[in-house]
């Protein structure tokens, strides 16, 4: 990695940290434009996990021997790293490790939701939520008869807050994505949190897309829960994070039952452990937590401000280049300027189907996603069944965007 840590990212140097970028497919170098689905991992993350397995692996929280103590320490340090990364005031009591962001959101729905929501209560979501922040609430709605409401998405790809106040009526919880995985829209969480809190509602933020790409601080956002995933922020698969305000987590009943989450078990009852262990049943993702620490350290070293600046500039380049080189043939969904917008570019090219676009792009080594991006309600709102989505990470450069555009043009020729 570039030793320079101010000014713009030295992308060329940084790319060397990501082994996958030196791979070729179909005789072309990989152009990885799918970071919104999952990011690549730098060598340091893999090295940290290998080192852990090779020198320290042991189950945590239950052993007095040296490696078990060390494994426990590493696991708990990961909690601090994850908390620190999002500005958590007290990570030891606020950070719960899950298997992914989805489980983190399910945990809130299951544990907080079942305790605090009753028939007729309202959960306010947005039309741009990922299924991970819709389906758990739909399941609860089915079970409990709660009402789901949706903040609409305007034609500019931003949340339409005009009716926020009216929509908040009767709402106990607002579930909102910090950044859309389809439109790139960065939502005004702080404003929404203020409005929600005024009405006595809590806010659960889906940070799966924002945490890897923006500086995030739970205190300044003022949200009550934040969910995110390791694998989208250069960490390993198999680990997610739920941050929650300590007093809320403290009052919540357990979610999954098993070892590690109890104080006592008798044949007819059990006493749950304190937070965060109460929510971490069974052997946790230990090596993954070690990898997550390394990922956080990597991101911190590059610097989230610089990552945001780089990705923002590249998004601007992409928006311009697509407009000037492909003109009206290519439509980009979501905000048209980089203000309040991350590097997620959902595309439609003429009437070539997204699946076919992605297939042609694959021949150029370009990795983009085609489909509904787990946001079917938003797809319906946009009036499409699928988009091709190119999404940017710190390791992308203008050459990647150029190849993307080259591939799109070829798809145009092929489908003429």
């Amino acid at each position: 990695m570039a030793p320079v840590t101010t000014g713009p990212i030295d992308v060329e140097a940084l790319r060397k940290d990501f082994p996958l970028l030196s791979r070729t497919v179909h005789d072309r170098p990989v152009v990885y434009l799918d970071s919104a689905a999952t990011s690549l991992q730098p060598r340091s993350v893999l090295a940290a996990m290998d080192h852990y397995y090779e020198t320290t692996h042991a189950n945590v929280h239950r052993g007095v021997y040296a490696t078990a103590e060390e494994a426990t320490r590493l696991y708990e340090l990961a909690r601090r790293a994850a908390g620190r990364f999002v500005g958590a005031p007290d990570p030891d009591h606020e950070v719960v490790f899950t298997k992914n962001a989805t489980e983190a959101l399910n945990l809130v729905a299951h544990s907080w939701g079942r305790t605090n929501l009753k028939t007729g209560d309202v959960v306010l979501l947005t039309e741009m939520e990922h299924h991970a922040n819709i389906v758990p609430w739909l399941m609860l709605a089915e079970e409990r008869g709660i009402e789901l409401r949706y903040l609409p998405v305007g034609d500019d790809g931003r949340l339409d807050l005009t009716d926020l106040d009216r929509l908040l009526d009767g709402v106990k919880l607002v579930g909102v994505s910090a950044m859309s995985n389809v439109l790139g829209t960065i939502n005004p969480l702080a404003d929404i949190a203020v409005a929600a809190h005024e009405r006595g509602a809590l806010v659960v933020a889906d940070g799966a897309q924002s945490v890897p790409h923006l500086p995030v601080d739970v205190r300044s956002l003022g949200v009550d829960f934040l969910a995110f995933s390791g694998h989208k922020m250069m960490g390993p698969t198999g680990i997610g994070v739920l941050w929650g305000r300590a007093e809320l987590l403290d009052a919540m009943p357990p979610f999954l039952g098993g070892g590690g989450m109890i104080l006592d078990v008798r044949t007819d009852r059990f006493v749950p452990a304190d937070v965060p262990h109460r929510f971490e049943a069974g052997t946790p993702p230990i090596a993954e937590a070690v990898g997550l620490t390394a990922a956080v350290e990597y991101l911190e070293q590059v610097g989230m401000e610089r990552i945001r600046a780089h990705e923002s500039a590249l998004t601007g380049y992409a928006l311009d280049a697509i407009a000037s080189r492909l003109g009206g043939d290519c439509r980009v969904f979501g905000p048209t300027s980089v203000d309040g917008r991350g590097g997620v570019l959902s595309l439609a090219y003429r009437d070539v189907h997204a699946h076919d676009l992605a297939q042609v792009l694959d021949q150029y080594g370009v990795c983009v996603r085609a489909g509904h991006h787990c946001a079917k309600p938003l797809m319906r709102r946009l009036g499409v069944s699928a988009t091709a989505r190119a999404s940017i990470g710190p390791y992308n450069d203008e050459g990647d965007i150029d190849t993307l555009i080259e591939g799109l043009a070829e798809a145009g020729r092929l489908f003429g």
């Binding site: 179909h26 189907h353 997204a354 699946h355 076919d356 297939q359 042609v360 021949q363 085609a370 489909g371 509904h372 079917k376 797809m379 069944s385 699928a386 092929l414 489908f415």
Partner: protein, 157 residues
């Protein structure tokens, strides 16, 4: 021939641009089945009329990628007017061409295992097997057809 050209053969692009038997038959009397691929959002609506053990008419609706739509169009042409045993045989042949990959997650893709002649124009879809993700696109309408035939068989005891 590159893999891509093998996938997007001229016949496929032609059926995609000008789908045959496009539309919906009024149902009833026609039987209507929807097929849906959750991964890419492709949808296909197959309406069919069976008379005297024969697929008397079939129409295709829905939207989706070139593979799902051309496969549906090709299918409609191939099965229309055929007797049900003939249709079933064709489905079997087509599916075995497509399931080459499914059976071989482990790796060994046999180069050639069917006589393309048996399949006529449908053989154009053979390039799909090299793109496992797209097999679901190609088989979408076929699965809907099979479902429809089964439903009809159950309805008439």
């Amino acid at each position: 021939m590159s893999d891509l050209e093998d996938l997007y053969r001229e016949i496929i692009l032609d059926h995609y641009r000008s789908p045959r038997n496009r539309g919906e038959l009024p149902s009833p009397p026609a039987h209507r089945v929807e097929g849906f691929n959750p991964l890419c959002g492709d949808e296909v609506v197959v309406t069919m009329v069976v008379e005297d053990d024969r697929l008397a008419d079939i129409k295709i609706g829905g939207t989706g990628c070139s593979i799902s739509q051309s496969s549906a169009s090709l299918m409609s042409g191939a099965v229309k007017g055929k007797t049900l045993p003939e249709v079933r045989e064709l489905v079997r042949t087509f599916k075995s061409m497509m399931s080459i990959h499914e059976a071989s997650l482990e790796g060994e893709v046999p180069d050639e295992l069917l006589n393309p002649a048996e399949l006529g124009e449908l053989a154009a879809l053979q390039g799909v097997v090299k793109f496992p993700v797209r097999i679901k696109c190609a088989t979408l309408s076929w699965n809907a057809l099979v479902q429809g035939l089964e439903e009809l068989a159950q309805a008439t005891p």
